[in-house]
Assembly symmetry: C2
Amino acid sequence: MPDVVVAVDAMGGDKAPLVPVAGAVEAARQGVGILLVGDQPALEKALEQHGEIPAGIEIIHAADRIHSAEDAVKAVRSKPDASMVVACRQVHEGRAGAVVSAGHTGAMLAASTLILRRLPGVIRPGLAVPMPSIAGPIVMIDGGANAECRPEYLAQFAVMGRVLGRDILGIDDPTVGILTIGEEAGKGTELVQEAYALLDGTPGFIGNIEGRDIPKGTARIIVTDGFTGNVALKLYEGTAAMIFHEIKRGLTSSVRGKVAGALGMSVFKDLRKNIDPEEYGSAYLLGVRGISMIGHGNTGTRGMANGILRAAQGVREDVTGHIQAGLTAAP
Amino acid sequence: MPDVVVAVDAMGGDKAPLVPVAGAVEAARQGVGILLVGDQPALEKALEQHGEIPAGIEIIHAADRIHSAEDAVKAVRSKPDASMVVACRQVHEGRAGAVVSAGHTGAMLAASTLILRRLPGVIRPGLAVPMPSIAGPIVMIDGGANAECRPEYLAQFAVMGRVLGRDILGIDDPTVGILTIGEEAGKGTELVQEAYALLDGTPGFIGNIEGRDIPKGTARIIVTDGFTGNVALKLYEGTAAMIFHEIKRGLTSSVRGKVAGALGMSVFKDLRKNIDPEEYGSAYLLGVRGISMIGHGNTGTRGMANGILRAAQGVREDVTGHIQAGLTAAP
């Protein structure tokens, strides 16, 4: 009997149901209980590819699914039998401690907020996105759940982000910085200045950071509005991907490159691994009742399995309880 | 007699006056007239290192300078003899067509706005920052002059950015995109949605782009508020610098790496050059009367020389006239 159960939206993501099913099988082999939610015949067929199915995987049939082009809130409200909605309901009704989907990001944000509901005292749930840095994993919060924010949201994001950093990413006493355009408190927007005043003196707070500090890991928890956060995280991923692509092309497109490539590729791969989003799983909507994780649509099996394992860890470590305690303790 | 004169703040930047002087000498050798503004004895000494001084370099003595920690507006107002202020005055008084400084960015923004003054019809000057992409150079505007923006500013930034792209970066009919968090017009902040409505149907406008589109060069002119723009450009530079640093470390820290390094370094250098900010010079404050270019504090001689040459090109191509014509033509 597994100690933790995670509901998996098996119909979400570019390669559903194959990748979610493969990730779930891998996580189940590592002791996580799985509720695999989706079209039963399709899931049974996908499971057949995996030889002996580990105990602790249960299929929950969901007849419908949400597609990537749909309006998020409308889809969630009008499709009670969609796999994502049914998966979220498993957490709300207590059959699972966490839900994971690599489907429509906006719909998963809406489903998590509407079905799991906010924790008491949370003004707005925030999307916490783990990212790599040379100092180790960092967390961007808000990564896009709230395009426009008030200072109080940012103050809560700091508390919630620190819990995620400690309980799931294993960062000891995470530092917190506000993302802005100058290091002095006097710079930036009104939002940043008021959030600074609220955060000043709180645990881990190191002040303002700039865009160039993100890859350095100067602050491990980066607090920002969802507009800036989303632009920044997509730019960060896109820049790394572009540089690796160009280097790979350079290394293989000439004789000179081919010789260097054979020798250099292993060095390059070490670095690539350190930047790989699959290593850190996905994004967490913090501030709802339960763990809600949202994967990239193109997440692979390893990313999916890592995501489910980290979500299970979040349940074991009681992320939700710690967030609630942190928000109650905050001034 | 040079056809164009550029005023250079020779006391601005981390390695002043040596680097600004060396850059100015290089640009003068390529036919640009230079007003070298700063402490006369120090400039004469710095010039001594360059053998024969090209004709067309004239020293303008300025007894004072603005330091990096000073309050920007206060420093500009209270130091009429600071090199940066004197250099801006050369443009305002018609002795130079452009001014270049690698000094205090905020002070140079303030000095350019206060001394050069806005072009008629410009609501807010915008900081246009050339950056690399795999499609060629792109321009981020606003890169930080206006932390909070209104939709009308963004519409003007698009017009001004296109002129810079065409006249100085040599981009044919530059595409324009608004930086936001979703590709559909319905997403993002109120600012983005209203700016979209203003830009819809204007020349080059391709709609919304996301952070990941920046390194791809999906839009060559990226229109955004100065907060988001500044975060994005610093993150972009910081990510590229971090990855190159890590790769270099990997390539030289092992025997395997040393062999690969010797062969692979030249491939790597080709790419590095394509990402190098020194290649594109610095940032341009667009919307003022004359060309105002602001360099990184750590700009090297090549970056400084490139900056001065591009500023001179801006005068020759009549960037200012084209901006004014573009704004008059815009609806």
